[in-house]
């Protein structure tokens, strides 16, 4: 499992994409490479490493260091191999007396302006300057530079104006200018890979320096988003992870998957012993291609945070303090309580919530616990509150509950529509890949109430920003369809071939109604009719059109309708079934896709098969040896309603904090308080645990084996790099509980759970750990028909047969503004924090975001006498809370915006329990509110804090 670090080979320049092959000879060896390849890369492919400093294969060649010189027969001079492309028949020499001498000269200059403290340098053993000095055979430096960048004082004791002290402002990496060789790899990585343009080279010649924007900026105050791309690109100790400075270099590495967002980046966990030294994005990761964001790269400190609970705890009542107990005691207590409840209130009085943060194998076991041990279908997952409408809408129209593309597809798109998603914050690595494509000329349409960074940021500008009023997605999407249909710019051939033409005609008639025109809906949506028309034409006629959407689509009372509308748009323009197009939900949590696939929903068994289907139940009844209930179970909001009513009494909740993440906090609290056994299985005493009777400590993604499935249906391995600090991997804990209740499960490794999934679920039939080991990852469906998985869906036909057009009538939400609540609140995420923040709040990421703030337009603020930074009271029909105001014109007048990463804010006290008509996905994105000046925390916040304090008391086992 653990492989020694063989640094991923650096080919010096990116791979060329041409299909045309060219043959040349390098040092007498014939090499055949695609046209456009650099001589440096061609040499590397033949196993010949040309010395280099300013080139690395994640960025385009620049040709500044002059170390990579080669000679080409018949050509003058010594060209740089990194910037010289191959040509047929070239005869290249990479090593001869002249080249050796030139290279030593170059190195000598570099070294003369470099401190020679290699032995104590944090990059010792991991420094390309050191390596190159060795490679060129540099043995002495003949002159001592008078002016240097590294001596703080000159020989006469005067301060050296060229000396810049180390910048430690970023919590995760330091910038030490004295070691900089000005190769500009960092600057180019920030531009080309990350797309932030935070770094520049200032000055010229000897004066040129790397700078974080304006001269006064340190790294933290700059535009830098701490993605780490520059750190990975830097060949020296100049930009370096602080963890390396503190710990030293790693000894081995294990490839694993980020446990934060649905991009599912692959990382190398670089280890020394069982200490994690750093996380480095894995070049061969197919979702991220060597890139990462601040969360996955740096924010793993929560795994060793002092707040982590490592022993099981129980209590009779939620008013008692917690009592630490042994695992067997905890299991005996829990099983007895659950069995008591089932005996007293019936089989359907208990249920489970699976986690979108845990592995597929863990989610599978939790739903199996309720189906095969509790004997009901009361299972739900946090996906309920984010992407359940995706499952419904795409299932109805296209036939699968998942996105149609892989992330690589973005490289071939021409027009992108982003609806209700903020990828630079929510899905940063995807955003970087998208921005790269936009800089190459692809066009962008953003549909979002707020001016997100996608709308405008360095070198990116959306062609159209449809800044709609929150809650009017369906009206806008339908208006887009209206334009495409009435202007006759739909793709008739595609529709006739792939969809039901008569259904399309019905649908066309519906969208053509005058009330669906952009002109008719303009007043409602706040988007100019002409803008909608132009956007529709661009999408329909601009080449490969792709749609990416997020929670701003799903978390509405018409969430499912919007998803259907999006699928309609893609089908009518023929934008399904090839690279560069498609319908792509940007999933929130790392394993939302997986937890849905694993049968976490109360109406369907793994693989999205309804429990009413006898054949499907039969498969599981045989595999599990039990009778499976044929009635759908309760969804999360229904569980809470049933709890308040008194018919739902026991809940096992793995890796999910429903009290903080679900809407209408007071109702959730009332539901939890009415239960007799709430089992929270998590890393920390989360908010839900305030109402729990049993706390089972969980393990982090570093401490277990399993798989995550990302937003592109890609099944990635999660590998254990250290022993679980709590003693057990999460699947083992679930198994202990099941067995305590008589289940008799005997898994010894998650691979056996995956084998059971493959055996019972056709779309996973070909998945197993050996395949993941050899292929790295695989996208479902993976079965006999597609043994290597399926990067693109619906290529030759829709999964459901014919694509289905469904009418999407706009129905205004009942959450309306009025005199008492005149503003619309919408919610979102920011880059540095994740979901309810349980992990990221316990890392240094808080330097970027230490509290939730309320964005409000200056006009709305002024009429209420609110200034930037003031405490404001935010009130809705459900409740009120306080937080600080931030004045900005990113939001339109009439709209306010906040995040919900911090429990003190209790943003969900405000949200109502309106929900999507089809799936009950809560309507987080629209709440009518009023705002007024305030002096500090609301009464509810204070009561809540007091209750939480009381509830978190722990008596240790010794007492």
């Amino acid at each position: 499992m653990k492989d020694f670090i063989i640094p991923d080979r650096d080919f010096g320049t990116p791979a060329a994409k041409s299909k045309q092959m060219v043959t040349l000879t390098i040092d007498g060896f014939a090499v055949t490479v695609p046209e456009g390849t650099s001589i440096m890369r061609a040499a590397a492919e033949a196993g010949i490493q040309v010395p280099k400093l300013c080139a690395t294969d994640s960025i385009d060649a620049f040709g500044s260091c002059r170390l990579c010189l080669v000679e080409i027969e018949g050509r003058n001079g010594t060209p740089a191999s990194c910037t010289t492309p191959v040509a047929a028949g070239l005869k290249v020499h990479t090593q001869n007396a002249k080249l050796k001498q030139l290279r030593r000269g170059v190195m000598e200059l570099y070294i003369s302006d470099h401190p020679l403290d290699c032995l104590t340098c944090s990059a010792n053993g991991d420094c390309e300057l050191q390596d190159m000095a060795g490679a060129v055979g540099l043995r002495d430096v003949r002159y001592e530079a008078v002016a240097t960048h590294f001596k703080a004082r000159d020989t006469s004791g005067r301060a050296n104006p060229q000396y810049i002290p180390r910048d430690d402002s970023n919590p995760y990496f330091s910038y030490d200018p004295q070691k900089c060789i000005v190769c500009s790899r960092c600057v180019r990585a920030c531009e080309e890979v990350q797309g932030t343009f935070a770094l520049t080279i200032e000055g010229r010649g000897f004066d040129s320096r790397v700078s974080f924007g304006a001269k006064s900026d340190d790294a933290l105050a700059s535009d830098c988003v701490s993605c780490g791309a520059c750190v990975a690109a830097c060949p020296t100790a100049t930009l370096q992870e602080k963890s390396i400075i503190e710990i030293g270099t790693p000894s081995h590495s294990v490839v694993t998957t980020c446990a934060y967002c649905g991009v599912g980046c692959s990382f190398k966990a670089e280890m020394r012993g069982d200490e994690l030294v750093r996380m480095v994005p894995y070049k061969h990761g197919k979702a991220n291609r060597g890139h990462s964001c601040v969360k996955g790269r740096f924010a793993y400190g929560y795994a060793s945070h002092k707040d982590r609970i490592l022993n099981p705890m129980i209590r009779d009542s939620i008013n008692d303090p917690w009592q630490e107990v042994s695992w067997p005691e905890a299991m005996a207590f829990t099983a007895a309580r659950m069995q008591g409840i089932i005996a007293k209130y019936g089989q359907k009085s208990v249920g489970v919530i699976t986690s979108s943060r845990c592995t597929n194998e863990e989610a599978y076991l939790v739903q199996k616990l309720t189906r095969a041990v509790f004997m009901n279908n009361n299972t739900d997952t946090c996906a309920r509150v984010c992407h359940s409408p995706t499952g419904y809408g795409l299932g109805q129209t296209l036939g699968t509950s998942a996105g149609t593309q892989d992330f690589d597809s973005v490289e071939e798109t021409d027009v992108v529509i982003i609806i209700g998603a903020n990828p630079t914050d929510g899905h940063p690595v995807f955003a970087s890949r998208l921005k790269k494509r936009l800089r190459q000329g692809a066009k962008l349409i953003v549909v979002d109430p707020r001016r997100t960074d996608m709308v405008e940021s360095p070198h990116i500008k959306a062609q159209h920003h449809l800044a709609l009023t929150p809650g009017t997605n369906v009206a806008v999407v339908t208006a887009l369809a209206h334009v495409i249909v009435t202007e006759g710019i739909y793709n008739e051939a595609f529709i006739r071939e792939r969809c039901d033409w008569d259904e399309f005609r019905d649908y066309a008639e519906f969208v053509s109604l005058p009330q669906n025109s952009p002109e008719a809906t303009e007043l409602l949506t706040g988007v100019k009719a002409e803008t909608v028309r132009e956007a529709a034409r661009l999408y329909a006629l601009g080449g490969n059109g792709s749609i990416y959407y997020g929670l701003g689509v799903t978390e509405h009372s018409q969430g499912s309708t919007t998803v259907i509308g999006i699928a309609n748009l893609a089908m009518m323009t023929g934008n399904v079934g090839r690279p560069g197009v498609g319908v792509n939900p940007l999933r929130g949590q790392n394993n939302v896709q997986g937890s849905c696939d694993m049968g976490s929903f109360p109406h369907e068994l793994p693989g999205y098969r309804h429990v009413k289907g006898e054949a499907v139940r039969d498969v599981f009844e045989r595999a599990w040896g039990v009778k499976i209930d044929n009635e759908p179970g309760l969804r999360i909001p229904n569980m809470l309603d049933a709890a308040v009513e008194g018919t739902f009494k026991g809940l096992y909740c793995q890796g999910e904090d429903i009290l903080q993440s679900d809407p209408d906090t007071k109702h959730v609290a009332a539901g939890l308080a009415a239960m007799e056994c709430v089992i929270v299985h998590d890393l920390f005493l989360n908010e839900t645990a305030n109402y729990a009777h049993v706390f089972l400590p969980g393990s982090t993604f570093l401490e277990k084996n399993g798989t995550f499935t990302n937003a592109e249906r890609r099944i990635n391995r999660v590998r254990k790099v250290m022993a679980p600090r709590n003693g057990y991997e999460d699947w083992e804990v679930t198994m202990m509980l099941a067995n305590e209740m008589g289940a008799g499960w005997t898994y010894t490794h998650p691979s056996q759970i995956m084998d059971e999934i493959a055996m019972t679920t056709p779309s996973f039939a070909g998945v197993n750990y050996e395949k993941l080991e050899t292929m790295g990852s695989v996208q479902w469906p993976c079965n006999e028909a597609a043994p290597e998985g399926t990067p693109l869906m619906h290529v030759d036909g829709f999964v459901r047969g014919k694509g289905k057009f469904i009418n999407t009538e706009y129905i205004a939400t009942d959450e309306k503004t009025g005199p008492r609540f005149p503003l619309l609140l919408t919610t979102g995420r920011i880059l540095s924090q994740y979901n309810v923040g349980a992990q990221t709040r316990r890392t240094a990421n808080v330097v970027w975001h230490d509290q939730d703030v309320l964005e409000i337009h200056p006009h709305d603020a002024e009429v209420r006498g609110i200034k930037d930074g003031d405490w404001v009271r935010l009130a809705s029909r459900s409740g009120d809370t306080t937080l600080r105001a931030a004045l900005t014109d990113r939001v339109n007048p009439g709209v306010v915006y906040t995040t919900f990463h911090h429990p003190d804010t209790q943003a969900n006290v405000i949200t109502t329990d309106y929900s999507d008509w089809a799936t009950n996905c809560p309507e987080y994105k629209v709440t009518a509110v009023q705002i007024s000046p305030s002096n500090g925390p609301s009464e509810w916040q204070e009561d809540y804090a007091a209750q939480a304090r009381l509830s978190r008391r722990i008596l240790s086992a010794a007492e």
């Binding site: 359907k348 309804h610 309760l634 009513e645 109502t912 009950n920």
Partner: protein, 76 residues
């Protein structure tokens, strides 16, 4: 919105009805009852029948019309 089970379920049923109403009638009717049969746990359907049996006040006509196709839960 009220947490009283009937009010809430009436609201939810009507929400589904309003989506289904924009479909051709027969398809919408079937869409409505199969949605409720497929996604509503028996306890929810029991509450819905309490409303229907009392005359269906507050429910949109399509829900009332679909009632005979909604599976009545067997008393637990």
């Amino acid at each position: 919105m009220s947490h009283d089970p009937h009010t809430k379920l009436i609201y939810m049923a009507n929400q589904i009805a309003r989506f289904m109403e924009s479909k051709p009638h027969a398809e919408g009717l079937e869409g409505l009852y199969s949605h409720i049969n497929d996604f509503w746990e028996p306890r929810m359907r029991t509450h819905l029948f309490e409303v229907l049996d009392a005359g269906g006040q507050g429910l949109r006509p399509l829900v009332v019309e679909a009632a005979s196709h909604i599976r009545r839960p067997v008393a637990a």
